[in-house]
Subunit: 258 residues, 4 copies
Amino acid sequence: MTLERWRRITDWPLVVASLLFLVAYSIQVIVDPRGDLGALLEDLLWVSWGTFLVDYVVSLVLAPQRWRWFLTHLFNLATVVLPMIRPLRVLRVVTLLTVLQRTAGRAVRGQIVIYVTGATLLLVYVASLAVLDAERAGGGSISTFGDAIWWAFTTITTVGYGDLAPITLQGRVIAVGLMLSGIALLGVVTATFASWIVEKVSAENTSRQAATVAHVDALRSEIAELRAVLLAMNPGLHVADPAPLEDPEAPSADPAPS
Amino acid sequence: MTLERWRRITDWPLVVASLLFLVAYSIQVIVDPRGDLGALLEDLLWVSWGTFLVDYVVSLVLAPQRWRWFLTHLFNLATVVLPMIRPLRVLRVVTLLTVLQRTAGRAVRGQIVIYVTGATLLLVYVASLAVLDAERAGGGSISTFGDAIWWAFTTITTVGYGDLAPITLQGRVIAVGLMLSGIALLGVVTATFASWIVEKVSAENTSRQAATVAHVDALRSEIAELRAVLLAMNPGLHVADPAPLEDPEAPSADPAPS
Amino acid sequence: MTLERWRRITDWPLVVASLLFLVAYSIQVIVDPRGDLGALLEDLLWVSWGTFLVDYVVSLVLAPQRWRWFLTHLFNLATVVLPMIRPLRVLRVVTLLTVLQRTAGRAVRGQIVIYVTGATLLLVYVASLAVLDAERAGGGSISTFGDAIWWAFTTITTVGYGDLAPITLQGRVIAVGLMLSGIALLGVVTATFASWIVEKVSAENTSRQAATVAHVDALRSEIAELRAVLLAMNPGLHVADPAPLEDPEAPSADPAPS
Amino acid sequence: MTLERWRRITDWPLVVASLLFLVAYSIQVIVDPRGDLGALLEDLLWVSWGTFLVDYVVSLVLAPQRWRWFLTHLFNLATVVLPMIRPLRVLRVVTLLTVLQRTAGRAVRGQIVIYVTGATLLLVYVASLAVLDAERAGGGSISTFGDAIWWAFTTITTVGYGDLAPITLQGRVIAVGLMLSGIALLGVVTATFASWIVEKVSAENTSRQAATVAHVDALRSEIAELRAVLLAMNPGLHVADPAPLEDPEAPSADPAPS
């Protein structure tokens, strides 16, 4: 079995494991149940973790260049090893984002907007869970889920009032992740606007638009017609190779370079 | 009657209802009047809300694909249902922004600047009203309209000193809306600058400018002249279809693709 | 005398008046001198203000369409009327920025960088002066020039720790101006980077570069040569108007449309 | 010896001196050792400083236009003179960044991402060291390396909770540097996204892509073929200069303008 096939097979199982983790972790952090339900949730989290561990090990074994795969997938290693530390388990959700991203691969602007909105909401949600988990244990000021959501929004938008701020190491690691996501969020929002404005401004004045491939194709048709006229004037003519151009590096007539 | 016609008819009545709401709500929050005036303002707010409800219901009935319209207009539903909760009534102002946006639809850079400035000031104003309304009732630290405006500016610019921060749920929901608007504001400002700089930099060196449609048209004219020369040399010539091009996908000579 | 000529004559006097104001105001706020020196500084500030008042009145009188000039120069009115309120006198510095901007009008990337750096430093400096002036009088927490500079930097970069924040109305108005400048600063920095990256990325692969005017000109030369060949084959030929193109909307051979 | 050669020779020694400084300074600030080790670290810091001083002096002597070099290298002067003040010694790390940047000079998007990530982490690290050094001496609230790292991240992302903020002059100077780096970071991230989105959106619809140099070259080949046809019809023909174009400013057939 190839790594490629394994990845196609495990895509959706991993999404299911991520969602399972998300639901179980949400109940565990927000409801904080004891007894049987608490034990069941803990078991589900371990099952979810086991799925990721199996996927990591099998992928490593199947990879053609194992050492190279190991080095280029250090982040995957982190999602498997780090969740031993409870609140960092949220790293597993990154797998969910990765699959979503693959779906949004043919990135037109509409898809970018949908993906960014989804990713932002998911990040805010899981970061709130993880920070609440870490801070409640560490005696921080973030003690309800509402506070955690509020804090996550002030952080990802880089507003940072400071009325609530994590004090535990794990909470701060999550916060830094959220801040960097905020920078990326801002970057994507801005870039999408920029691409839209550039298009609108250039669309305003047609004759100042950049010449497109379609325009060049129209020109080619007219030149072809000219050649037809010439050949019609002299049907039996045999033409050798065209005269060399000034620029010897000019490619052949292939209009679609790599 | 079609949905399209209904929308054209109701555009300005909805703007009037939004402005009515804005004025009545401003007086209610800032002056906080009792007795007859207070009751009158409350009535006006309900009239404004009724207008929006009627518009929503009629639009839904007129829509050709009702279910699809319902799903793509969830936000409109929110502006009708959520304002039951008093400070969220500001959502109604979004209608005002939508109409303004439609006017600025032919988005050249100048219009974007005007629209963004207007929308930002309007957002800061109504968010200040709504936060003041929510926080004063909930015992928060934002207790005067001046404080509310100051807080709104620190939030939309993502500065976030934290000297004032909402503590009620409604205040925080408004705050998150303002933060996200701030991100969008930053995005639009940056994108406008970017589009302007890109234009200036490319304008600097004419011969490195991108070839425009006008340049291609000039080329076409010259090729047409060449053909005229050829036909003049051989007036009675009949030319069949032009010889096929290397690329069979080349479109016909239409220079303006979709 | 025309408005145009008046503006050219007064450009540098206004810069001198701005600088005079800047120096006098700096000494007044930082050193806070009493007695003769204090009175002299106050006089200098009034002289500077008078210069601006005279310029405003003369410009208004010289304007061809007075009412239109009045409406499009409301900001200039503000710089003349508002400085009655002492800390808002800094608005006058905007004149300095306007003149600098005119100089940097041929905006290539290098000039933008220099102008933005200069404008940012100037803004931070005068905002610090003005906030210190306002807050010291109003009993705020910003009480030394060092604190004021530190506060101004945390504000214009939208960091906003909140360890220092203005509490007076005038201080807050200045702060909002600084925050909005910060958004603009971020926009310009980002846009400059974007323009630079877009250029670098496209320069990387020559054959994928956009076709430039120079390329089209090269094509035109070759077509011209072809025509020369044809005419050489048939020297006495008289060519009428070129045959009509497929697209009847194609413009004439004018390569530079409006 | 020329300045150019000196620079090539000293590139790597200066990187080594920077790294030596980085390690010695890290141990000095974090471990804060006394006795022999403390004295050794202090010596190493002086050796590192000496290397930079020698490089500065020799470069100044070798420069063809000494006065001009002096003025355009004021920043280098600062890295040599300012580190007398201990926490500002971090300025020396800028040399490391400069060398890294030279390596990433052929700026394609991938290299920008790697360089920006590296530079950000390095900046956060050394700013944390320097702030800790300054604030611990000045009695500020940043007293552990963990706090310093946390503070540096909240600052460079412009979140700025304000739970920790420098109070010493040196700490604040470092903070301002970090804030400005944050603005630059945001700019680069956004610009990279923008360049990527613009490319993706235009790639979506092939016929609306900008015409590339390759397309123009394809056209040239076809025109060359036409000329071959013509010359084949009339082998002995001698062609004079081509007929003049409408636009007398059209350059010669060189397709690659400077």
